[in-house]
Symmetry: C2
Subunit: 211 residues, 2 copies
């Protein structure tokens, strides 16, 4: 018989830290404590929302629903569905009156960010958002060194379209053109400071174009 907690959840030995195995993160950094990049960004967005700073959400995973079962007296159950490819980036919303649109990606590479992480329809979407005056970028994580960057979509677009044989963006390019994102506790990934810088740069660029 399975042993259960009073709340009905199954008892699991995995929940108990084993003697000798530290559950505390050794280097005491805030990030990567078992949370995915997506989870950390979602938590940061909740912080921004609760504090009236921005309204940015992750879009739900697109799913094609084929069969739904409606049991009496309980919630509908989807019994057959398939994952669909997203036609846009994953996150969008509003910050200081600006339309914000971005994608978050991770790599275990050390010296470059692979471009295969970006689908062609995502690149098309980024181009289109920029053409309408939106703020569009990617949050890139180098997982091994736990470094986070915000990179303007125009840099990514340039790298994808420039050369057909180019398979990645070199780390030093990201260092030069991207913004380093500080990681902390509240919010975990404070990417809106970098977004403010990006908005300022785009405003200056537009002024120069007009002059």
């Amino acid at each position: 018989m399975a042993i259960r907690y009073p709340n009905g959840k199954k008892f699991s030995e995995k929940r108990i830290p084993q003697r000798g195995k530290s559950v505390i993160n050794k280097d005491n950094r805030f990030s990567n404590r078992g949370m995915s990049l997506e989870e950390e960004i979602n938590e940061s967005n909740q912080y921004y929302l609760a504090n009236g700073i921005a309204n940015i959400h992750k879009k739900p995973t697109p799913v094609q629903i084929v069969n739904v079962h409606y049991p009496s007296r309980s919630a509908a159950v989807i019994t057959e569905a398939y994952f669909q490819k997203a036609s846009t980036t994953d996150y969008n919303g509003i910050f200081k009156g600006h339309y914000i649109d971005f994608e978050a990606k991770e790599t275990r590479n050390k010296k470059s960010f692979p471009l295969k992480n970006f689908h062609s329809h995502q690149i098309d979407h980024m181009k289109d958002v920029l053409s309408h005056g939106g703020i569009c970028f990617a949050i890139l994580r180098f997982a091994i060194t736990d470094e986070l960057y915000l990179l303007d979509a125009s840099v990514i677009i340039r790298y994808v379209s420039d050369a057909e044989d180019r398979k990645s963006i070199p780390k030093d390019v990201i260092d030069s053109f991207g913004y380093s994102i500080p990681q902390g506790y509240m919010p975990r990934i404070d990417y809106l400071k970098a977004v403010s810088n990006l908005i300022e740069v785009q405003r200056e660029t537009r002024k120069e174009d007009e002059e």
Copy 2:
């Protein structure tokens, strides 16, 4: 043996119009030809996207995925999932540099639009979007008379919060404060003209507030 068309699709008698039953819409109106409001808005958004007018998408239905089956050599099948309540409105995107955010609802009432169609978290979301300078509204359809309106979120918010016993927005209020949306062929629901008017009015209001 099933008869198939040259493209491999199954032959179906349903495709052939039956003698005596007209397949042409009697009053020759463009809308409601078996399409839902959502489908018509999606088609209009595709038109706007393809013509570089705006980039607006419906968010996927939020689904909590519980079980996924991975058959060898074919796509992953979601075998257990549940519908979740959306925490935002259904549609958002960018138009002329403005953040656009809206919900689409339908009623079979003739003289008023029931407020129970709007969940409290959607109202909270609308308030928040307005506070960040976004353009927020609802597209309302009176199904019986096939009338379409665009109504500024601030009117909906006022009606929800004004009186606890108020259960709907009267049709004449929607007539006075809303914008009638023309229905056509390309796009089916040309709501961006009304959005342009809304942007203009909000700009004037802000100017007056500043003076």
